[in-house]
Symmetry: C2
Subunit: 180 residues, 2 copies
């Protein structure tokens, strides 16, 4: 239970607070917490994942400063204030890949790293795709690299895909939608 | 490429910096980054996962202030300065569950949320377990709840397990070690 919250820094995306907390045993302590508006992520599937056993996935290759280089990811982005996660998923898919989704299926939602942030990512499966032009933000460096699901799974197995939301999304889809 | 790094806050676990960065196209900008020492997480498997098709997993139920309640997770914890991830995995497994692992197999490593932190979690599969007494930290509230892998998978499918590292670890193990 929160007893007090002391704002330390408010940034462009995240906010850092130091909260005084009452723990389940009645004791109290201080915790650092990064408050985040939440995000949506999308597995863009170029064919119907319910009938095609090895659908083409629009993976992206993105520059991530925090990792020192390029990462394999699925499209994703932060919720605008008051934005519905599904609307955010459609918007980010369009902005990052230029693609519009005919059908969006919610897979799950994840706490990215609950030891120090309240960030939740809502994960969707997109199909019935229509191609268009992306409109990326100034500091986004993204290349769209379509590839079969089997190749994405091999990249996860071999440790080449290391982004948590991407691994969750692809393995969730393979295991529980395609039942591979 | 980092041009400058301005420390904003140094906490108990995380540090917040605002870096001035040169992007791949030559432009520059500021990025908030949470610097984290990294972590290790462990899937504790009470029987041999290479022969038992439905091994018992020592899942934990943990109070996480950032999420407002209890989360299903696998044991995990932050690397001590200079600590080897495998040594950290053994230490955290012992501290949180009281269990010593006979065998540790590295599964993969993940970037938890690379948009704003450099945190990496190294994930291990532990088997050949010997029971003992846990020694938890003052602000850790953890209950060990052994359950069959099939039940953990059902909890992931139904959205009851929402911690990213836990989903990655269990689905990676089910898909690539047990080849379910």
């Amino acid at each position: 239970m929160q007893l007090e919250s002391r704002p330390v820094y408010t940034g462009r995306v995240v906010r850092l607070d130091v909260d005084t907390v009452r723990f389940p045993d009645g004791s109290t302590g201080e915790l650092e917490i990064i408050r985040h508006p939440g995000a949506a992520a999308i597995v863009p599937c170029a064919s119907d994942p319910h009938t095609d056993r090895d659908p083409t996935i629009l993976l992206i290759r993105q520059f991530r400063y925090a990792t020192g280089g390029l990462l394999w990811e699925i499209p994703a982005g932060t919720l605008d204030p008051g934005e519905d996660p599904e609307a955010c998923a459609r918007r980010e898919l369009l902005e990052e890949t230029g693609v519009t989704a005919g059908r969006l299926q919610r897979l799950t939602s994840i706490w990215t790293t609950p030891g120090f942030t309240d960030e939740v990512i809502h994960i969707y499966l997109a199909s019935g795709l229509t191609a268009g032009a992306p409109s990326r933000e100034r500091d986004e460096f993204i290349e769209v690299v379509p590839q079969p699901l089997s190749q994405v799974l091999a990249r996860i197995r071999d440790g080449e895909v290391r982004d948590a939301k991407t691994i969750v999304a692809i393995l969730y889809m393979a295991g529980f939608v395609l039942k591979m």
